[in-house]
């Protein structure tokens, strides 16, 4: 439920208005927090977004369906492939194109690699936010090895533009499995190190346990999804509940916790990275080596998608990521709405959770919610 912000009299001299931002240290991307503090306790928090607003939804309305494919990945910078997949999926659903099985496996592999890379970045972030710069150095370096894999698989490190409506853009390169397995082994070893250094660290425990507790009843009120929700004890994961791609053929556990504080959320993510490695190994083993990886497509230069509307969602690292698309039978889309989980995590939830915490903890709190401003503003 919405709670009105407390009325504070700034001229009373008791309060201090403090801006954290526009480059908030706790997040990947630009965002500002307007904090009203009394001492070092926060009495009011307002989130300011829009520093990365590019008007994607408008731009997509004036590009053809194939021209939209390169731009969607820019919506969430650290995690582009989920956009690529969801855009492809939503267009495929509206046109009735079915991507071949081989493409589905490669897509899953791609998405899980992305999830791992994104989590590594986050892990570095939460380490840095609580003074563990070493963890940041380790994880971002290892993320770079995953980017190397992406580079040879898709042709680019960050904006892969690989999952195209109808399939994927190319086969896996020669010898990809060995190199990928090698990286996975190194990341797995690193994760055990991080557990020792970060999760067993008494400083980290002291600072994160009890920080930013999300009460279970808040979950639906605030539309919280993903690990933030699972850390509050809910066993909800779109990969299991509404399986897409080949997730119904993969073995994995849905990780949950009950404490629902920053530590629990971090722990859930940490465990999910292990699950991700487990899934990636299955993918590497089972991805078909033969067969088509692209469905038969119409001429994309003047591709008219039949009129209709649909909503396709997937479980990204932060929760429910979805594309809602309305088409009217023309070469251009009528409306696309990108539903990013950060939208509610970074604004409504953050504004609520920050109240009562210390200034020093806002960065950590923000990272523990795992938000990406580019997907809020689009």
């Amino acid at each position: 439920m919405f709670e009105p912000t407390p009325q504070v009299d700034l001229s009373s001299g008791k309060y201090l208005k403090l801006w954290q931002g526009p480059q908030h240290p706790g997040i990947t991307g630009n965002m500002a927090l307007e904090l009203t503090t009394m001492g070092d306790e926060i009495v009011d928090c307002k989130t300011h977004v829009g520093y990365l607003h590019r008007g994607f939804e408008k731009l997509m309305e004036r590009r053809t369906f194939i021209q939209n494919f390169p731009i969607v990945c820019r919506i969430a910078v650290p995690e582009p492939t989920f956009n690529e997949y969801l855009y492809a999926a939503v267009v495929e659903e509206l046109t009735g194109i079915e991507s071949p099985e081989r493409a589905e496996w490669i897509r899953t592999l791609n998405l899980e690699l992305m999830r791992l890379a994104s989590y590594l970045m986050w892990l570095g972030g939460i380490g840095a936010a609580f003074g563990q710069g070493t963890v940041y150095q380790w994880t971002v370096t290892h993320r770079d090895y995953i980017l190397d894999l992406f580079e040879e698989m898709t042709g680019a490190r960050v904006y892969h533009m690989y999952i195209v409506p109808g399939g994927v853009r190319g086969r896996l390169p020669e010898g990809f499995e060995e190199r990928c397995n090698d990286v996975l082994n190194r990341v797995e070893k690193l994760l055990f190190d991080v557990e020792k250094v970060l999760f067993n660290n008494f400083v980290f425990k002291k600072r994160t346990k009890g920080l930013g507790v999300i009460a279970p009843e808040m979950v639906d009120q605030y539309g919280i999804t993903g690990p933030n929700q699972r850390a509050a004890g809910f066993v909800r994961d779109l990969r299991r509940d509404a399986p897409y791609l080949v997730y119904d053929q993969l073995e994995f556990d849905v990780i949950t916790a009950t404490e629902s504080d920053a530590y629990a959320r971090s722990w859930v993510r940490y465990q999910e990275m292990h699950q991700g490695i487990r899934m990636l190994r299955q993918c590497l083993e089972r991805t078909p080596r033969e067969g088509p990886f692209q469905a038969r497509m119409p001429n994309v230069l003047h591709w008219e998608v039949p009129a209709g509307e649909t909503y396709v969602k997937a479980e990204c690292t932060r929760g429910e990521y979805g594309y809602y698309m309305v088409t009217d039978g023309s070469e251009y889309v009528r409306r696309v709405h990108v539903r990013g989980p950060s939208y509610t995590h970074a604004i409504a939830l953050m504004e609520k959770l920050a109240v009562g915490t210390n200034i020093a903890d806002t960065a950590g709190l923000m990272v523990s919610l795992h938000t990406y401003p580019p997907e809020i503003e689009r």
């Binding site: 494919f69 040879e152 399939g167 853009r169 067993n200 008494f202 001429n299 003047h302």
Partner: protein
């Protein structure tokens, strides 16, 4: 807090003994991956179709003329110039490239102080990565375009050979839309089409199922659309960019797809029938495609047009030279009837020089357009060709079109490799004859349509290539004739021309047929023009050499069609007619542009 929690973080020291992760020289040591999407390269295969420009969502690609590059049909002479202040390296341009000339290298570093420097024409500008062999290429199994032509239903050879029913059945609406959808709308074909029809536009109208617009577009440049939709030589398809990786668009049949869906009664409603009269008249000699085309456009401009036709029906070579299984009479009538319905007067059975003099035409009309075509078969120039069982291909086709029996017998030899030869062969098959086609060069050198060659073979004609007729001899029976021919070897031409066939005297053959059909070409007949006029007119190889706007040295006389161009096909004649109509309009003081 347990003791473990206190000690555990010191585990971090263990990593201090690992080999450092650092790249010694990060810039040199890390080239892009083999599939890296780096900077653009363009090979010589590029034809400047501009498809990359149309797919680029960033408007990062400009098509610009490149110095030292000549345009020719099938190559616009433009090349893509990239703006790296816009590019996002999505490589859609590489994926869509119709000739697969565009690639990305794995080079990725470009740093400069000048923000205006990031423009370059890939492939022609000297860039450091031009020799790069790695980088993104489109995967063979990944396509953004549809490379395979939609198959058209046609009569099987067993069936087609039995009668004169049209062989190509035409696209259904769905097929036509799918085929039209393959077009990338680059417009390269427009320059190659002799009539410069707006091909991409009418293909788009097929895709949009808007046949009225389609018909209007067709009639802007071609009043024989129904005809050309069937028998056009479709030079456009030879340069179609889709042909580089797959089949060219079936442009000809898409034209037909439009006219097939518009009934003749609606023509006047769609195209309009408001024709004014400006009081001046033009005489047109010959009611073939050239003459009727000129008549149509002149009539549209308000001229009174009288067409003088020697035969009993209009259409010229389309009627008498093209058999009805390729072009049914009613389809030709559809085109001609519409032109006549606008008020074009056609005088049939009126041979200029016999029934009316050329001079009288010059006197009565403000201008004269002459398109008499080539109706005199060329001679074989071998001994014995005056044998009565040596028939001309044109004569055979003419007789069949007029419903007469050409009397070819059961076993026929056709000499020649052009469309007339193929038509004669296929007509003979339909009359029940066993047909052998003798051609002096190789099958791939045949000037006939590949489709025609293919279908004639399917219908059971035997094609004998590299066969040079040497002599015609009387056979034992009066109703038969013997032909002597020798095998030929292809010898490369020293002057760089196409290979020449050279007769091998030791490999001669002799065979007896019921008749020999000679179809090696035609010549024109212009004796009706008085000789003092002829002196004012430029000729070459017995053909007219028209000046601008098809005008001749005799200012009032405009010429066109087979007798005035080297291409000798319907579409060129149509364009000649259209062009001459513009010229006549100019000549008679119409708009300066026209």
């Amino acid at each position: 807090m347990s003791l473990k929690d206190l000690i555990s973080p010191f585990y971090v020291w263990q990593r201090a003994f690992e080999k450092p992760y650092t790249q010694k020289r990060p810039i040199e040591d890390r080239p892009g991956a083999p599939r890296y999407r780096g900077f653009h390269m363009n090979s010589e295969d590029c034809i400047g179709c501009g498809t990359c420009e149309s797919i680029c969502q960033n408007r990062a690609i400009d098509m610009v003329p490149v110095e030292g590059l000549e345009q020719r049909p099938g190559d616009s002479g433009l090349r893509p110039r990239f703006d790296y202040g816009r590019c996002c390296w999505c490589a859609l341009c590489v994926d869509i490239c119709t000739t697969r000339s565009l690639h990305l290298s794995n080079h990725y570093a470009w740093v400069t102080e000048d923000p205006d420097a990031f423009h370059f024409t890939a492939g022609t500008d000297p860039m450091p990565w031009n020799e790069n062999s790695l980088g993104y290429r489109r995967d063979d199994d990944y396509h953004l375009l549809v490379h395979d032509r939609i198959e058209m239903e046609m009569l099987g050879p067993d069936e087609s050979v039995r009668g004169f029913d049209e062989v190509m059945k035409g696209y259904t609406e769905e097929q036509a839309v799918l085929e039209a959808d393959r077009c990338v709308e680059c417009g390269i074909c427009v320059a190659t089409c002799p009539a410069h029809m707006s091909v991409p536009d009418y293909i788009r109208s097929v895709r949009k199922r808007d046949y009225e617009t389609g018909l209007r577009l067709l009639y802007e440049t071609n009043p024989f659309s129904s005809t050309c939709g069937r028998i056009c030589t479709h030079r456009c398809e030879t340069v179609c960019v889709m042909g580089y990786q797959g089949d060219p668009i079936a442009i000809r049949f898409l034209k037909r797809a439009i006219v097939d869906r518009v009934p003749a009664e609606r023509y006047r409603e769609i195209l309009g029938d408001d024709v004014s009269d400006n009081g001046r008249t033009v005489g047109v000699i010959g009611a073939g495609p050239g003459g009727m085309s000129a008549a149509y456009y002149l009539r549209r401009l308000g001229y009174g047009v009288t067409v003088y036709e020697a035969q009993a029906r209009a259409g010229g070579m389309l009627r008498y030279g093209v058999p009805s299984y390729r072009l049914p009479d009613d389809q030709l009538d559809k085109d001609i009837d519409y032109i006549r319905s606008l008020g074009v007067e056609v005088r049939f059975n009126t041979l200029v020089g016999r029934d009316v003099t050329f001079q009288s035409l010059l006197d009565t009309h403000d201008a004269v357009f002459l398109a008499v075509g080539l109706n005199q078969p060329s001679a074989l120039r071998i001994n014995g060709e005056e044998h009565p069982r040596v028939l001309s291909g044109l004569k055979v086709l003419d007789d069949v079109a007029n419903g007469l029996d050409p009397g070819i017998g059961r076993k026929v030899a056709v000499i020649g490799g052009g469309n007339v030869a193929m038509d004669a062969a296929r007509v003979s098959r339909r009359m029940g004859a066993e047909v052998t086609v003798l051609y002096r060069r190789r099958i791939e050198d045949m000037p006939a349509d590949p489709d025609e060659i293919h279908e004639s073979q399917a219908e059971g004609c035997t094609l004998v290539a590299q066969a040079i007729p040497v002599e015609i001899k009387p056979a034992a029976s009066e109703a038969q004739v013997t032909i002597v021919w020798g095998e030929a070897e292809m010898v490369a031409d020293d002057k760089g021309g196409r290979p020449r066939p050279v007769l091998q005297e030791d490999r001669m053959h002799e065979e007896t047929y019921d008749c020999v059909i000679a179809a090696i070409g035609q010549g024109g007949q212009i004796d009706f023009i008085p000789s003092d006029y002829r002196e004012q007119i430029e000729f070459k190889w017995n053909k007219f050499v028209p000046g601008d706007y098809q005008q001749t040295g005799l200012a009032k006389l405009f010429v066109g069609g087979d007798i005035a161009n080297s291409r000798a096909d319907a579409i060129s004649a149509i364009e000649d007619g259209h062009h001459a109509a513009r010229g006549i309009h100019r000549f008679l003081g119409g708009s300066a542009d026209a």
